[in-house]
Symmetry: C2
Subunit: 312 residues, 2 copies
């Protein structure tokens, strides 16, 4: 018996072939064809899955199921309620994928939630039943694991930590349309945005010279060298991320918070700044939370997708 | 077959006798004996339960179980991790209660969580699988229902909405020890505290005269009469409660929010103020949330406690 974990992104589709017990046997990747509103995507996945099992000499009857992570909210009935990055509207993904692949069991989930599940079953959160994952990338994503399962919510939109309002006084808009979201401060683009706002205050900063091409990594590297502008930008990120996580912890009381995404690679300086604020804002009965760096990197999605098959 | 729902409070213990299907047959109440660190409480409950079934001519074998709500965090192993109001430290409540009552099944939960479950199974949230309950009383309590079950968290402290930090600039301390908690603005004591802070600004307010005996109801009544001080106090409550609920909804994506507790009886003026802010701060994919007044009042606890028996 074997199963597949599929992670559908805007650029590539990652596919993992797993044993029924969740051991990764081999990884594959195909480009995401977004032409004609992404209408070829499901077919391309099916073709690739068939190619894989033919190559291995596996039988379709031995396929335990296909788990699939998608960049959009997925509801309890197995529908994805739109994926802007793929050009999709509402798609009955579980039914359609199953039709295209020999009627096998298909389970779908939101990609950030599925990555959290991956870290919970096979990564940083191994053997922890209650955890929060926050992904600090271009945006800020989140996924919440409760009793070993994804918290999906009424229409698949739970765990959207990046859109918690942390600064009601903010006047610039987030991509989501409102103002003051965590994502505006704690994402890669967010920390650069904050740094740029501080140039007037810190004219001596080493960042001024290449301010137009500034990256989040530049900001953290300069902060490690004690650049005052960079340190203040990191402090702003830490304040809002620490505060938002304290709210999430107040609501969900997890054992651990797993940090993923490019910004999390800044390491200790980030953790220190977040923890300092977290401890200040968190409700004390919930404060014993481990801060853990994600372990699976880009493979969290395929691991989590494969794990979806084991859950109801 | 029958079951019991027990709601242990600091003053009284409420007991509901239910059919196995959850229909309330009769209610009982005994005083809470807090002497000797509350060590008689479990025994008193057992005596009362025996008295009830003897009176009815019921058999102990026909008791489907006893659900019990307690004013403290309850973990997955059936222990309550301290109840300050009862004088309790850690108590293995499920085991001890079962020993005292014929070895029947006992399930325990935190009182705010159990009340949320009660509203979900038999009250305002009837037939809704995902909801948030917020109780605006002397403090601000909360309970979260995910897929029909209580979100308890790693050590029973999930759903503590009242201790979300909503104002990082606050200098006065909450009872919990930190500053800027929702409870400092949205509880009965909180709205009175805010009103008192506004007396310098609104010297003509009708509230000034009896400011020392001010109640939350006075503030809402004056706000309905357009008193400027009262309106501002209600606006502050609405801003912070709307913001905090938007964070909770961002994390849990419920179908409905149920409002309970004395402050919620202020009615439409409260809902309007909260909703205005909620809509401003909430992530749009999660915004379709019904605001519902609680239906069961003080009986939510016994209904929810009885419902605990049906869950794992």
């Amino acid at each position: 018996m074997y199963k597949f974990g599929v992670d559908v992104g805007g650029t590539t589709i990652k596919i993992g072939l797993f044993t029924a017990e969740g051991e990764l046997l081999e990884k594959f990747e195909i480009p995401t064809d977004k032409s004609e509103n992404g209408s070829h995507i499901i077919g391309h996945i099916a073709v690739k899955l068939n190619e894989i099992i033919t190559g291995k000499g596996f039988l379709t009857e031995d396929c335990f199921g296909i788990g699939i992570g998608l960049p959009g909210p997925v509801d309890d009935t197995g529908r994805v309620l739109g994926c802007v990055n793929l050009g999709w509207g509402i798609v009955e993904i579980e039914r359609e994928m199953s039709q295209q692949f020999h009627g096998r069991l298909v389970k779908a989930g939101n990609d950030a939630n599925v990555a959290a599940l991956g870290e919970a079953v096979a990564g940083a959160g191994y053997q922890r039943k209650n955890l929060v994952m926050v992904t600090l990338g271009t945006g800020v994503g989140g996924g919440i694991i409760v009793n070993g399962d994804i918290l999906t919510g009424a229409n698949g939109a739970a765990g959207e930590i990046g859109h918690i309002t942390v600064n009601p006084e903010e006047t610039q808009r987030c991509n989501c349309g409102k103002c003051g979201c965590l994502e505006q401060y704690a994402s890669a683009t967010g920390v650069v945005r904050i740094a740029k706002q501080l140039t007037e205050k810190y004219k001596q900063s080493e960042l001024i010279e290449h301010i137009d091409e500034l990256t989040a990594k530049d900001v953290f590297d300069a902060a490690k060298r004690q650049d005052a502008l960079a340190r203040e930008a990191v402090a702003v990120l830490g304040k809002y991320l620490g505060m938002a996580l304290s709210s999430v912890v107040c609501v969900t009381n997890p054992e651990a918070i797993v940090f993923g995404g490019g910004v999390s690679r800044a390491g200790q300086i980030l953790f220190d700044e977040v923890e300092k604020n977290f401890v200040k804002y968190v409700f004390s009965p919930s404060r014993h939370v481990e801060f853990l760096p994600a372990k699976l990197g880009n493979d969290a999605g395929i691991y989590g997708a494969a794990a979806l098959i084991d859950r109801g």
